[in-house]
Assembly symmetry: C2
DNA sequence: CCTAATAAATGGAACGTTCCAATAAATCAA
DNA sequence: TTGATTTATTGGAACGTTCCATTTATTAGG
């Protein structure tokens, strides 16, 4: 059923009555070959059902045109969107990237990275798994493989990073909440082993400080970065003596959870409790109510990252400039109308 | 910055004072090597910062342990879930699968397949892109590479298929709707170039017939398989003279769109119009209202597909049995309570 | 018609592994 | 001791390409 031993360049050569070198040249589109010869060879290639053996070629050439995208959680639409952005530019550069999922698991990530290296990748763009150890990328570094981080960074590392301006995004969002009249505001979700977390939390804190929210009135609740985490955060927040009236969520997934939990309690998102998300995934716009969120231009950052790694490969360097992408707050319905002093939902505030 | 010429098995041999053959044996974990020798070698491997060159090895061995997962749309959480299911079993089998996205584009798929073949994949599990031409997999077939289709199938092809029981799922869902008292029911979304579409539509039709819905009262609206498509379907359906009162949607994305559009019109999903989805993605449970949907055990089918391809690779065959997975209807809120003759929403029915 | 220059095609070594057949070393039976 | 057997180790060919250095064919210049 399977074909006989697979055809090689030599079989083609025989078929076409030329030397293997000639076939190789044709395969590479060299202009040195007489057009009619090339034609003959191409016909032979078809006839014998040849498939190029990239492994053999790489053995000789030592640069492999395989590019890897290592993603921490493909199940999360945010990262899927990111991956798709990258793919777009790889595609138009004529390379087929291989995607590998680490499922937020550093051990798995280790395996994936190892496998990719053994495969001889030319370059990598990585959104590192939570809890990645500092040394995880040393192998790649000493091997001189171009790597760029996207969306997430490691505490200290020389690897170039493409991220959104998390600090600014959080600042903007928090200012929006405070501008709406909220005086007791919370930060929901995320965990401190991610540096993004500190960046976003930092923006939140700075806004609170700048806009006169008392330290006691800015509440932070760590939690899973998922719908579930959002639900949990809201529950514990509302159980407090003086609960917050608004929250900036670590990401949209958390925000969706909060929205859900509010509804389940019979509270009206927006009117009774304002929530803003982060990332502005596609779904945010279609949620009920539509989610106010910090747009980070996910696909755009993906494209940027892809370009950078391509450039690095081309110029055989392992260094590149970081890029901090602009963000902007897109206001929708989840924060309701302004709550200026008409003491709506009965949650008093100490202004 | 980059290391000097990368270390090979020969460097290790020199370092450890043994022959390259010995190193090779150690690398493969052969028991023929004296433990202390093996230890010495392993130390040398560490010392020189060796990375295994799988390309070179494959050249010699001719079976590559690379497995590919070709997915039509990673952006769709349903397929992401599927991919994750497959990954789980590949991981525990000790292989790192490479995922490639075709973005529902047959041309891209062609490229991806070509690249994978050149890479020398040992096997493939594929959810083919819409509009895949019949010959797209011939290359793989003549090369004798094990391939299994998952979730989707091609009109005619000898390649084994793992899918849910689409016909039965649609039947169940439709029967549920009719059981609730609906007499004018619709099928929303999907397009006829997918064979899944015909399977699901077939189940819908059969249920209608079996349960006495007049041919004129079973409406079918083709449309995009997305939220957007769902919105469009609902709009055109409600614009009819005698609109349906319930719909089975091609998949959950369409159903979400319908839910959204209902809300936007001030209609209450469930009470005013019943909707059931298909696939039961994770989100269905958390939607507002929670979506009644046909659960297909996505991850389970993914696992199954992975097992099958692994088995095929191992037994060097290109054939395997099809598998039709059981489905079940999970009833939530989107169909409301039974609508037995208490003429609730003012939409009369001719029973 | 010969030489120089150019164009087209080619042989062979090299890339880093695996694995067979062969060797070397150790153990055993007599 | 000697050969037979087992246990460890090793050299070398092979895998399918690329690319350099050559060779061969073609054309141009005189």
């Amino acid at each position: 059923m399977a074909s006989r031993a697979k055809a090689t360049i030599l079989d083609i050569a025989r078929e076409a009555g030329v030397s293997k070198s000639t076939v190789s040249l044709v395969l590479q589109g060299s202009g040195l070959i007489r057009p009619e010869t090339a034609l003959k060879v191409r016909k032979a290639i078809e006839d014998v059902g040849y498939v190029y053996n990239r492994g053999a070629a790489n053995l000789r050439k030592a640069h492999s045109n395989v590019i890897g995208m290592v993603i921490n959680d493909l199940t999360n639409p945010f990262f899927a969107e990111l991956a798709v952005g990258m793919e777009r530019v790889f595609q138009s550069a004529g390379v087929v990237p291989f995607i590998a999922n680490t499922a937020e698991n550093p051990v798995r990530q280790e395996e994936v990275l190892k496998s990719l290296m053994e495969q001889g990748v030319a370059g990598l763009v990585v959104s590192p798994a939570r809890g990645t150890t500092p040394g995880a990328f040393r192998r790649l570094e000493t091997a001189g493989v171009p790597v760029v981080f996207v969306m997430r960074r490691l505490p200290e590392s020389r690897i170039p990073v493409i991220t959104p301006d998390n600090h600014r995004g959080a600042y903007l969002a928090t200012a929006h909440l405070i501008g709406k009249g909220h005086r007791r505001v919370a930060f929901f979700g995320g965990s401190s082993d991610l540096v993004v977390y500190h960046e976003r939390l930092g923006g939140f804190r700075e806004a609170c400080e700048a806009l006169g929210i008392a330290p006691a009135d800015r509440l932070v609740f760590e939690g899973e970065t998922s719908r579930k985490g959002g639900i949990a955060c809201l529950e514990t927040a509302l159980a407090m003596a003086a609960p917050p009236t608004a929250a900036l969520c670590f990401n949209d997934a958390v925000a969706f959870g909060v929205l859900l939990a509010l509804r389940k309690r019979g509270l009206e998102p927006g009117a009774d409790f304002a929530v803003v998300g982060f990332d502005d995934v596609a779904e945010a716009e279609h949620y009920m109510p539509a989610l106010t969120s910090v747009a980070v231009n996910t696909a755009g950052l993906g494209e940027r990252a892809a370009h950078v790694v391509l450039k690095m490969i081309q110029s055989r360097t392992t260094r590149a400039e970081d890029h901090i992408g602009a963000v902007n707050l897109v206001v929708r319905e989840s924060c309701g109308p302004d709550r200026k002093e008409h003491g709506c939902a009965g949650m008093g505030d100490a202004a």
